[in-house]
Symmetry: D2
Subunit: 362 residues, 4 copies
């Protein structure tokens, strides 16, 4: 049973492979009558693009999206929005030798085990290139959310290696982020990050990182108990993202060390709105949004493609030694920032439409 | 759009409220012809039951399940298995005063915001009591998996407060776990746990914890890219569980600090089977099982029901002070262990059936 | 992949077998805050009950439903409504001899081929008894629709054998229907029906029939192109009903003989509402309701259980001769009338909730 | 909630509008490793094309499809197959005047009521042009079915106006069909059809028709009770097709006039296979295939676009008189033949994959 779609009411189905002629998405369920700002969508896509600085993959992707359906005179019609992006800026020759090899940390072996056949150019279907149409779909969702509900979504790098930002989620400034080549809000520690990335690049190595995301102005009431909770759907979307190994919301894994007395967020009323004094829960209680900012973090492993020698096996089980050439990301968390935002927008928009007309939401 | 079901091929729909006459589940998609061991299912249910020791809720639940359909002469027929469990051992009077109150850390407020009406006895729909039918459904899934594929699932408490087990996931012994009143595998540190729980009980407080789960003998090939990955579905199931705030697989959040060189699991062949020397990925690559043990951890917050005084508001926004009486869990992670196993079984069984006849799986 | 559910937003999952201890349904997605009239639901269930007259199965079913969840102080809470009905009034002994036999026209052989095992008492899972919980679920949907939108659903027998009602769909009176023992609106021809049924009963034979259904006051806009059209969903629900072999909407199969000039329904405006002068389309255009009455017909084959001798085979392929004893319906279309209404209510309610907040529907 | 997809295991999502730059489909769940014959797919698409004779729409569609993903070295990879077809051969000017008009029998009004906005060129989303990608997807499904199970699907025109083919479903010859410009198997009566169509063309009128479809070699066991029965899914697919007003399987509406004795298909064994002597059931019992040919019929209304004057209203409710110019089909049933086959292939393939590994199907 295929797993190529995310969302039920706002549904995004992604097709394509890294080195096919093009990749794309079909976006279903977008409300009709919305005037889409295509330039803003392209800006989001540009943020994901490789080649923005020397520490992310230098593949020369132009990444211009095109919308083939679902728009009429600039407005959505409620019918599927077909998004297409041409694949450009690569040479297939770089990869052919890898066709018989199971690269450590990649999905080569598991795709082989599952399907018996795979498009091995550039990782084929398992490539992070698949996130480009996700960003377009997420940008559409984001415009639905910001226009109708004033919802804002902001992600950024929280940590790379052991260098952690000291800026709290409520203090992050969008301006700083757009300035930072590594989507890192702590200007004091940015140079440490840059130094680390420079060193790893020289060594032909890579490193992991953590992305934090804040979603503001979600009304109380989004999320479906028992099994389609808002935080559960965010968790699924994030853990499904390439290279992700962990998800936590609110204080996350730290909550294991706290007592109930310490951890409970007491309710009060402020400006006629129910609020909590602390936000350890990260904006979700019982799987339903409580109106406070939704704050979560996502852990990315180091990109498995490194220039250093590694031991592995080929398709026949024979031991081999490989060096993975080409321009690869040193820290995938950096380019993942707009993707985390896009997936968040898709999930929240999906839950918005699930609630519409049903929980105080118009 | 309702969210009461988990799984697509092996699908479990849960109905009921904490203090209704009964709760239950409808299990769809169970393969026909399987002879179910009902005693083993009851044993799993008993492990979840409150009252097993003095640190978990003393509500006197008998928790005897009954199967109303889908079995014929002791064998599954491929049609829905309806599971029912009577609700017993509580008095509604304990809770009535809470009807107008938004308890901190609970879902009272969010259900109110979403639905405008809620069954407030014992938490109603948001109660962890809903996990009882999940355990029955998971035990059925577990028998499908163990019988047809030899898959074994084992969860246990990894950490409570700041007391962490030093037993690695490959060394945990089932015997120790069944002996431990707190599902904790590290016999040396168990007394520290018991002392901590005793102290918290006296104080009328609670504490968080981490549960680890190991799934062995999953063949390579389970999981559906891009958006229904095996690890993503596990994440959704776990984060959807009551009180959970985090999920990580393999080395999880630690991966953020590692380089690619350190983190990559090199492939080799052992006894004709593809294996990895390390298992930092936790048995999943690109969202698809690679044949290595699947290892993940789940973070539970402290139970929000504590006997100490807390400030909060009522349904009209008026400030109030509450003490939550009754017998409550001091650490919900303990009783969550069989539920984590049950949800794991449901997810893996679902992916097994999604693969059946399609990826080397008979 | 299981097929036990109907509806996506208003979702009904049915479990059980004809001669198990009980049967039931889980109704998900019912809007919260609705005060259900349980007596009216029971009345609907009574209409489906066997034994109302001598021409329908005399099985003595009490058919009292019970609601186990999802109601709080008489109102829906938005959580699953679990419906249970005890199975009573039969003796298993009547059926045991049929366990090895493939009865003509029944699903014995196909269940055997599909599952390898089946509950053969009274047809087990394939029995029309499964429609009892559908009637309860449909009655709940009907109350949602009548209360919020004033939608009315009325089905009746249009034809039995070659005796056809001459009352047009706009002239059918509810009072006549409640009076008629065979749910037949044409009082002039009712005696012909009764004579036919009496003759068939003597002969140990049965006969087919056609049920017509009218749904009034559906707003324009219900239905989802391309593949979840309102008429397509009605067709699926109806053809999925036991013994059904055909579905047509509006003028149905007659449209094949008409020209476009004859068949097109011209638009006009009446009392500020868009209407059509004729209603050949049966209230649906392009799969979306147009505000006119929805009118469709469903063809039922004769009940395959007849007392006359029939040749067939047993499970080993050996030729045998059988006579099916017991009290069986002479014309299943009669008792199907409330089931057709119930399924209609479920489908329309599902589409209502899919539209809510999205197409001029509050 | 969007309705743009058909199938669950073999899933086809269709995007586009009649006069957009292109239309397409994403086909998910196609088993990996299948070598697709692209020429045969193009042949199927050509059969649907307008302009094959003077009685179907003369729009000059080239209808060359392209596959953008999911194929590797000519074989399917198990990942989504993205199909795209350019829209060509029309001039937008023809239609602009219709932008404010609700054409009788078309979906103009209902789309307007539902979405508030619509792409009105050539019917936009509601155009039968949407069936072109369906034919491609169905041809892929057909290759899966014919290659792995030897399943054959054949549709043809059974009736136009009151001219009915006298060739029984078991006697239809593929060769005759490919020869007939109107997909009509009864060579004796073909000239009557041609005369009728010629006359209607002169008059600027159109006419309805009935398509019959036969599916051979479906193993016993396909179909999911209670609500995803094989015949129910076929009914939904067919009634969802443009201009369809009825569906019947086996003897269909005729069954209403037959007794059980007359209608029951007795089982016997032939060449070691369970068969029935008659096939009144049309190959499906209890919603599950019984191994006999599946035979069903679909009723199409006359194309609503006619050159004669019609009275209707515009978007403001004002009465107007229109004549619909352009080249339109005189009988849409003719061109629908390959679409009925394609939808049949999609539904049967979906049920094949739902059964795979589960009901005697490898």
């Amino acid at each position: 049973m295929p797993g190529d779609s995310i969302g039920k009411m706002f549904k995004v189905s992604v097709w394509g492979e890294s080195h096919g002629s093009s990749i794309g998405a079909v976006v279903e369920g977008c409300p009709p009558g919305i005037e889409l700002d295509l330039n803003r969508i392209q800006e989001e896509l540009n943020r994901r693009k490789p080649g923005r600085n020397k520490f992310v993959s230098a593949r020369n992707e132009k990444d211009r999206f095109e919308i083939l359906s679902g728009l009429f005179n600039g407005r959505t019609t409620g019918t599927p929005i077909s998004v297409i992006i041409k694949n450009e800026g690569f040479e297939k020759e770089n990869y052919e030798e890898l066709g018989r090899i199971f690269r450590p940390g990649h999905a080569d072996y598991t795709y082989h085990a599952k399907y018996g056949i795979r498009d091995y150019y550039g990782g084929g279907r398992s490539s992070a290139r698949m996130t480009a149409p996700v960003v377009v779909a997420g940008a559409i969702a984001g415009q639905v959310l910001s226009g109708e509900l004033g919802i804002e979504i902001q992600a950024y790098v929280k940590k790379i290696g052991n260098i952690r930002s000291n800026i709290s989620s409520s203090e992050v400034e969008k301006a700083d982020l757009y300035r930072s080549p590594v989507n890192f809000p702590d200007m004091d520690r940015e140079k440490e990050i840059l130094a680390l990335l420079g060193k790893l690049e020289e060594e032909g190595n890579s490193v992991g990182g953590i992305v934090e995301c804040v979603i503001k102005n979600v009304p109380a009431g989004f999320g479906e108990p028992l099994f389609d909770k808002l935080d559960a759907d965010l968790a699924k979307a994030m853990v499904g993202l390439n290279a992700v190994k962990g998800f936590e919301i609110g204080n996350g894994f730290e909550c294991a060390e706290l007592t109930g007395k310490e951890n409970n967020d007491g309710f009060s009323v402020s400006n006629g709105k129910v609020v909590t004094k602390t936000n350890n829960s990260g904006g979700v209680l019982g799987g339903i949004s409580n109106g406070m900012p939704i704050v979560f973090r996502v852990a990315f492993k180091a990109a498995p493609s490194i220039a250093q020698k590694q031991n592995t096996i080929d398709i026949d089980g024979k031991k081999i030694e490989i060096e993975i050439k080409g321009n690869h990301d040193i820290c995938v968390a950096i380019r993942a920032v707009p993707v985390v935002e896009a997936l968040s927008a898709i999930i929240v928009c999906d839950h918005y439409l699930r609630c519409r007309g049903q929980c105080g939401v118009k």
